[in-house]
Symmetry: C2
Subunit: 191 residues, 2 copies
């Protein structure tokens, strides 16, 4: 997606060859116009896949998941990072461990909102090692639903997440795929 | 907002006279069509107030804040519940304590995204005791910005948040104002 790649080139800050900050338009400040275009582009790719719900992990994935769900005309479901006190029975949970960050958290979903009638598109802002996406997949399968695909805003294609997920036969579609990056330099994958 | 009040009546679950669950369309599953209408209605109220940014606290406020920012044509800023590792210098922080929940968290904003040029509309999903909104206000003032108002999806008007904030001269506008609620009964404030 050219608009997004241009924005990453002009406003993204490469902290080191592993960390890209996009705080000015995706994570901390959000550009609603760009976010709507992102949602449309993800929806366009998955529009014929019979998606019944768009799921995302709180909280950076909420904005692109919402605009994608709007474009597809289906509900969005937020996978919660901790069991809410007011969500009670019929919960599915899974532990997600981030080896890179050295943290783990519990991901929760209510069986009311994802169940055996659903074909779910997972949307998230970043894909790197695929730990969060793998946790989301596991949780959605626990809830007896199937996976329509994974839609990503920015993928660090030099990290193993994409290949690990694609190897399971999942359609992993990212709007910006970074092949290599360095302090003053970002190279995207060719389409 | 009639559409929202009807949805609260038909799908909201009153757990006790203090807790209302709206997980099926606001907090856990999100209805994108209703969320767009919510954003438009909040924007309509504040459209002549010179709003430069819409700010919200992660994560349930992100959806209504994004649709409101879209309608106003301004960026959205997410006040982070913890200092991100990739957000480094020039941060403002404040501690928000929830006496009802017995928890506290650190709220963070970067001076890059809210500063002395900004007139900020705070948007959140719920207003009850006003603890989160008061923390957001404090943080935005720390960042040298002024407050255009507070836009809320659902207000529990029988709790003190609204009056506490309005007493400071702030325009607090809620789309659904619950006067009283009970297991089988929700009464809204008259307009």
């Amino acid at each position: 997606m050219k608009l997004l790649e241009d924005k990453i080139r002009s406003e993204g800050i490469v902290v080191n060859d592993n960390i890209l900050k996009v705080d000015s338009f995706i994570n901390h400040q959000v550009d609603p116009v760009l976010m709507m275009e992102i949602g449309k582009a993800l929806a366009e790719h998955f529009k014929d896949k019979g998606v019944t719900k768009v799921a995302t992990i709180e909280s950076s994935g909420i904005a692109p998941a919402l605009t994608c769900a709007m474009s597809l005309g289906v509900p969005m479901v937020i996978l919660k990072k901790q069991p809410s006190k007011t969500l009670n029975s019929d919960l599915y949970q899974t532990i997600v461990t981030s080896y890179t960050k050295g943290t783990s958290y519990e991901l929760t979903i209510s069986s009311k909102y994802v169940n055996e009638n659903d074909h779910v598109l997972i949307v998230d802002d970043f894909l790197a090692n695929g730990e969060a996406a793998t946790g989301a997949l596991r949780l959605i399968r626990k809830a007896h639903a199937t996976i329509a695909g994974i839609g990503i805003v920015i993928e660090k294609s030099f990290q193993p997440g994409h290949d690990k997920l694609a190897a399971q036969g999942i359609d992993v579609y990212a709007l910006a795929r970074i092949k290599k990056m360095d302090k003053d330099y970002i190279e995207f994958m060719e389409d």
